[in-house]
């Protein structure tokens, strides 16, 4: 191969890139819009089939689906820190996108059954309804927990965090009950089931039953006992909420959750 041919073989790809590929990419990028929300159906087979298909790699399969859940949710949650939310607001596409995906931020659209029983706490714990989002997230979490029934975080994510944002009580209870069934030694499930019964269903008797069960579990933190005591003394719901939030904050290493709880506690104190 001659020297000229060598040089030509380096120059031609460069020319193709500059004059051909790069302009086309720019045109393609121009037509591409970043969306805050989208409806994404779950095309995957049911959890039992996935469990079978994953062969010896059930942990890997459940991790992969779980990360997809977190990314999906993190991208679409209405949050002042979410860059996709900020982007949609700046580009004035937010309302159209929310409408298309079946989201609603209007308090009038929230069904009464999905609200917390204490009116003072409603604005703190409920942010928006999101049909499009829950239709993806709950089936996905169900698959994750069917493949790996001992993976605790997805149950709590769906049973508590997604519930806070969406008010999907029935789905949250079903998920936590599933976790409770497969992990009877864990204190988290009776605690959170009790929490839903108290906060959303207003069933104090059932809440106390669940808390008694949680306290009896190994490694159950002390604040659960304090909660139970507060219920026995008929303490005000806001006071009980504060014990609950402080307990969660002290028992997590996640700085983001701690910051959020600190903010909630400040708002609760201010609302007094």
């Amino acid at each position: 191969m001659t020297k000229q041919l060598h040089i030509l073989m380096l120059i031609v790809p460069l020319i193709i890139f500059i004059a051909w590929v790069h302009p086309i990419q720019k045109v393609l990028d121009r037509n591409r819009t970043i969306q805050f929300v989208d409806k994404r159906p779950v095309f995957l087979p049911k959890g039992n089939v996935l469990k079978w298909l994953s062969m010896g790699y059930r942990g890997l399969m459940s991790d992969w689906l779980w990360i997809n859940c977190v990314i999906y949710y993190g991208r679409r949650a209405i949050d002042e820190d979410n860059p996709y939310y900020i982007y949609a607001e700046e580009h004035k596409t937010l309302e159209a996108e929310l409408e298309r995906a079946g989201h609603s931020q209007s308090p009038d659209d929230i069904p009464e059954s999905a609200l917390v029983t204490d009116e003072n706490l409603r604005h703190l714990l409920y942010r928006f309804t999101s049909k499009g989002l829950v239709d993806y997230i709950y089936p996905m979490i169900d698959r994750v927990t069917t493949i790996d029934p001992h993976f605790i975080q997805p149950y709590i994510f769906g049973g508590v965090y997604v519930l806070l944002d969406t008010g999907e009580i029935k789905r949250a209870i079903l998920l936590l009950e599933k976790g409770h069934r497969y992990n009877p030694d864990r204190w988290e499930f009776p605690l959170y089931l009790g929490w839903i019964n108290w906060m959303y269903l207003g069933d104090i008797k059932r809440t106390q039953e669940y808390l008694v069960e949680a306290v009896g579990k190994k490694e159950c933190p002390a604040f659960v006992g304090q909660l139970l005591r507060a219920f026995s003394l008929n303490a005000h719901q806001t006071e009980v909420t504060k014990i609950y939030l402080k307990g969660i904050s002290e028992n997590t290493t996640n700085q983001e959750i701690q910051d959020r709880i600190d903010k909630l506690l400040e708002e609760l104190d201010a609302a007094k």
């Binding site: 079978w52 062969m55 010896g56 890997l60 990360i67 790996d148 001992h150 975080q153």
Partner: protein, 254 residues
């Protein structure tokens, strides 16, 4: 001693193999990448790293078994170097066993390196080394050795492509075979259950060599799971190795 000489030679040969180095680097890269992926998992970094690490060990071990295990014997036959070895005062069973032993040493070093990468990643995330993973790592190694045994077995009488396909089928079937047992238990009156029972009895159930999920999530398991898994795997390795020797003894090199 003659087995050891062949094993040492095979070890030197395989350790220099570019495919092996590429697979190993890719596996270690994937284990380290799991630290980033774990960060997206909402407080489950440690679990993700361990799941990814153990799965990488197993999957890449399978790839090594297929790519190198099959080439091990085929190469000797294609390049006709088998004539030189066979003309020496050495038994054929010693050739096969030496080759297998050499690759087993290479794989042991690979598994150790990947375990080191996994523990290193775990150390960065948790500031501690989780030795609780050792039972799963031991059984992953036994599973890889079993798959290599099958790869070597098929490669003594099949083309490389067909051997790779058959080894892959053994791996997939080995992980799914438990379904047959469940089926027979669920529907005990079916007329063809005898066939399912026979297949289940003959085929190795690779799920008995799978403790990945149990060690990562600290699930309760039988205290004998590791030792029985080990004995089960070694038993199958011996059987398949004896079959390989038998076929290799009868093989005509013409």
């Amino acid at each position: 001693m003659r087995i050891w000489a062949i094993a040492l030679n095979t070890f030197k040969e395989t350790i220099r193999n570019r495919i092996l180095i590429n697979i190993l680097l890719f596996a270690i890269g994937l284990i380290l990448l799991s630290m980033i992926v774990g960060d997206w998992s909402l407080n489950e970094q440690a679990k993700i790293i361990k799941d990814f690490g153990l799965s990488a060990m197993s999957i890449f071990g399978l790839l090594i078994a297929i790519f190198i295990g099959i080439r091990l014997m085929v190469q000797e036959l294609e390049q006709r170097t088998i004539y030189i070895i066979a003309s020496k005062p050495i038994h054929r069973w010693e050739i096969v066993s030496g080759k297998y032993l050499g690759l087993a040493i290479t794989l042991a070093i690979n598994v150790l390196l990947m375990s080191g990468a996994l523990w290193g990643a775990g150390w960065i995330m948790e500031s501690r080394i989780d030795f609780g993973l050792v039972p799963a790592i031991i059984l992953i190694y036994v599973e890889i050795l079993l798959i290599v045994g099958f790869a070597l077995f098929f490669s003594t009488f099949m083309s490389p492509t067909l051997s790779a396909l058959m080894t892959l089928i053994v791996f997939v079937a080995g992980h799914l075979i438990g379904v047959l047992r469940e089926y027979v238990q669920m529907f005990p009156d079916k007329s063809f259950n005898w066939l399912f029972k026979a297949i289940y009895t003959i085929f190795p159930n690779l799920e008995y060599l799978n403790l990945k999920m149990a060690v990562v999530e600290h699930l309760s398991r039988s205290p004998h799971a590791v030792i029985f898994g080990l004995l089960y795997g070694i038993g199958y390795i011996l059987i398949i190795h004896l079959f390989t020797i038998w076929i290799f003894q009868k093989k005509d090199f013409k």
